[in-house]
Subunit: 126 residues, 2 copies
DNA sequence: GAACGACATGCGTATCTTTGCATCTCAAAT
DNA sequence: ATTTGAGATGCAAAGATACGCATGTCGTTC
């Protein structure tokens, strides 16, 4: 025991979510989509990417489609048939988007840390 | 016309959401809760606050309750009976929380603006 | 040209949220 | 003591999401 215990239980955590949208508000690229795209890049297959993301193929496919419709450009090059039945790989634009998204996220992480410290100071003491 | 029109439609917007949670992940104070509390402060009534927020009283009440359970302190002073049937007003702690949340949000907005510009530059050309 | 297996997609089902009652509770004002 | 109207809650209905299944498409490989 000691200084911990109750204090820990009461600790308030700060969370955030970052996503991109079109002006109409429709179609989004969220954290999940980002990770899904990263997996596609790694695996070369939407199906396997979805499996690793623990998400249904149906949803994964729908998410990518939505994102592409919103951006008005393709994120993946799809191939049907052939060995393995087909595959998906990222387009150059998708790769660039991922890089930019990642940098943005990193920046978010950094700036949230200091903002959070200030926040906690304000709500803690009387 | 000119430089706008199509370019605008394609504009990718950055969205983010900040919220507080307990360590278990349960109970949250989101943007919505923040605005709901602001309305309570303004109106002195949960019912009217919910109406203005365009949210059911049922949900509003549940959200506040959840938040209070998570924080382990009251956010509102509730009164039943009397003229008007009752009312709700914010506690001092709630006021402080709102201030801190607002400051957090503002600080975050500022520090993110730059990152967003970079992001847009990265994905726009080439 | 038959087989293979992922891409593609519709649609009914399951799951999670929010809403919409219905019902109580309570204390100030009459 | 009765009235009043928002706070407090349970619960079933309604909506929104996501999942699973079924079924079709396609192009390389054998």
């Amino acid at each position: 025991m000691g200084k911990r215990g109750k204090a820990d239980r009461r600790t308030v955590l700060l969370n955030y979510k970052l996503w991109l949208s079109s002006m109409s508000g429709e179609g989004i690229i969220s954290e999940d989509t980002y990770h899904l795209l990263m997996k596609i890049k790694e695996k070369g297959s939407l199906k396997r990417a979805a499996e690793e993301q623990n998400m249904s193929y149906r949803k994964a496919w729908g998410d990518i489609k939505k994102a592409e419709e919103m951006l008005e450009y393709e994120l993946t090059e799809k191939t049907r048939g052939g060995i393995g039945g087909g595959r998906s790989k990222l387009t150059g634009k998708a790769e660039k988007l991922l890089e930019a998204y990642h940098a943005l996220h990193k920046k978010f992480d950094e700036s949230i840390e200091e903002a959070y410290q200030e926040f906690r100071t304000k709500i803690s003491n009387k």
